[in-house]
């Protein structure tokens, strides 16, 4: 491996002459309209904003050995900064980072760091809160359906923020959750959405990578909310808005810090204040007053003046979880594995 390391240093020296070479590894195809697509938009933004930067990417890289190989390949060919954009790349990143101490790795949504490995994620729950406001305002049956991928804190956090948003404008709103136990299975996602519509839900939200739930809502003539990217083209009449990722600004900031030499290994978890998360354009059927309210909260998030998870917060069994006047710490938010009041659904007891 020393040879490879040497090669990397040589290539690095060459590369530096032309500017910074930045590599990306994606778990899905760049055209998935979801997670990897959003990251690739960020990459393109980075290239546009920082002209000295040269980028390259590998797409559809499965977690495991193949990820290790691709990361190594990037590092060995002189990429000085590498973004690994899937939680499951964690161990591969740490392994390769050890072999290439002069290469900087940024791992998305993970929690293990090293001298040359930092982690980052975005506060998408802030966007979930905003789209929740729209859903709460638009439901007539006071029943909102949520097609949820996996019962893990990341998803639970989003559902909770969504519910708090919905109940901010509509205290009677309830959010009904069904688990499909997959990030990606359009046929089942659609079936889950249809079952929610049959159960009386007139707004359908989801945390899936495919727009199947939006399509189901469009077919049945109810409202829907997208996730990851603007999914309106799949359900033009039904799509109210979507909680979306906007990685570009964060990628620019991190890359700049590497160029100036100010980069250090840390965990970044920005939200609206850095523009990492956003919401898709809101459907014209949504009343102006609601849009105004959403914009107000968005502004507050941008200024860092509003916290979604603050007391008093009750769980859906009526227990007080966060006292009046208290604000949940980042650590508590990160590990959140209970539903707030207003969520109808159950969480399998976790094996933590």
């Amino acid at each position: 491996m020393r040879k490879a390391g040497l090669l990397a240093v040589v290539l690095l020296a060459v590369a530096l002459g032309f500017g910074l070479k930045v590599g990306f590894v994606y778990v899905g195809p760049v055209g998935d309209a979801g997670w990897s697509y959003a990251h690739d938009q960020g990459r393109q933004y980075l290239e546009k904003v920082l002209p000295g930067v040269e980028t390259a990417y590998f797409e559809s890289v499965p977690e495991g050995v193949e990820a290790t190989v691709k990361l190594r390949q990037l590092a060995a060919s002189g990429f000085e900064l590498i973004y690994a954009t899937s939680y499951g790349y964690m161990d591969s990143v740490l392994e390769v980072a050890k072999e290439f101490p002069n290469t900087i790795f940024m791992h998305c949504s993970g929690f293990k760091r090293a001298e040359n490995v930092g982690t980052y994620f975005g506060r998408i729950y802030q966007a979930d809160f905003l789209v929740g406001i729209v859903a709460g305002a638009m439901t007539k049956s006071n029943l909102i359906g949520y097609v949820a991928p996996h019962p893990i804190p990341e998803v639970v956090r989003g559902i909770n923020a969504f519910t708090l948003g919905a109940r901010l404008v509509n205290p009677n709103a309830k959010v009904k959750v069904v688990w499909v136990n997959a990030w990606f299975d359009p046929a089942t996602e659609k079936e889950a959405a249809l079952s929610l519509i049959e159960a009386g839900c007139d707004v359908i939200a989801h945390g899936q990578d495919s727009p199947a739930a939006n399509q189901a809502a469009q077919e049945k003539g109810v409202w829907s909310i997208g996730y990851n990217t603007d999914m309106s083209k799949f359900a033009p009449e039904s799509h109210l808005t979507a909680a979306i990722w906007n990685w570009g600004p964060l990628y620019v900031e991190i890359t700049k810090s590497v160029m100036d030499g100010t980069w250090k290994s840390e965990d970044l978890w920005p939200g609206f204040e850095k523009g990492v998360v956003d919401i898709a354009p809101i459907h014209p059927a949504v009343p102006k007053s609601v849009v105004k309210l959403v914009e107000t909260y968005k502004y507050l998030f941008q200024k860092g003046e509003y916290k979604v998870f603050k007391g008093p917060l009750y769980d859906n069994e009526g227990n007080l979880r966060v006292k009046e006047g208290e604000v949940m710490t980042d650590h508590e938010i990160w590990d959140m594995y209970w539903f707030v009041q207003g969520v109808e659904g159950s969480l399998p007891s976790s094996g933590e």
Binding site: N181, D185, P186, T188, S195, Q215, K233, S346
Partner: protein, 307 residues
Amino acid sequence: METVDALLQATIRAGTPLLYAALGELVTEKSGVLNLGVEGFMLMGAVSGFIVTNITGSAFMGICVAAFVGFTMGTLYAFLTVEFALNQVVTGLAFVLGGTGLSGFLGKGYIGKTISQVPVWTVPVLGKIPVIRAFFTQDWLVYFSYLLFLLVWLVVKKTRIGMELSAVGENPRSADSAGISVYRYRFLASALGGALMALGGAHISLAYAPMWVENMTAGRGWIALVIVIFAFWDPLRALFGAYLFGGVSALQYRVQTLNIGVSPYILGMLPYLVTIGVMIFFSSERARRLLGAPSSLGKPYLREGEK
């Protein structure tokens, strides 16, 4: 629509891809050819149907091309396993991997694209009768699956062709000496079976969830394989099997919405638990005989003195 009707309607909708695939596998296996590649066939059907529909704007064209792709793959499969007598388990698995990879490659540019989906059409009169209407408020591909089921059932159970097909699968040597062309039957059964499997995939990408994403059949090809065993190689039982699995997947979300405390993991495991159970049962030779699997299933036929 009443809850029962809605559930029944969802059952049929979810069962249709399985019905197509199971019928395809059944026809193939009847002739003595085991095709484990169903998943790969379905994915290729799904992607080719979607691409053609996206380009031409006609779902009908998409369906035709999907069937053609399945037919071609089935012919290729027969070429390898019947003509060259390659190991059918290995070749089948190769078709799963190949079909998954190739469909992902071909579909790359079509992820996130939209199409006009196969429309739902309510049959007059029948579509108004409670309960029965669940069968008659479906998309065109569902109606086509009824028709194909009838056709397969008739041919397999009631015609000379069906008898000869079974003979080829049971004892190819005797069939051969009786003047039945073993190769022709096996070729045709594989090809037509492949076309049916591909249609199952096309139902998912053109009607059920009209979009293309990699791996979108999500293991349904394997379930179809189980259904055929479940059905003891009988088309009518295959129909029930397909709808049973469809019912399980439709019911699991509705059970969750009723707030009944069953872990989603247990519910999600159901199809696979059943799969494993049946596989264990099937792996014993005695059980196979008991179930009535075609005696020469998976064994290539070589004429003595030839090749």
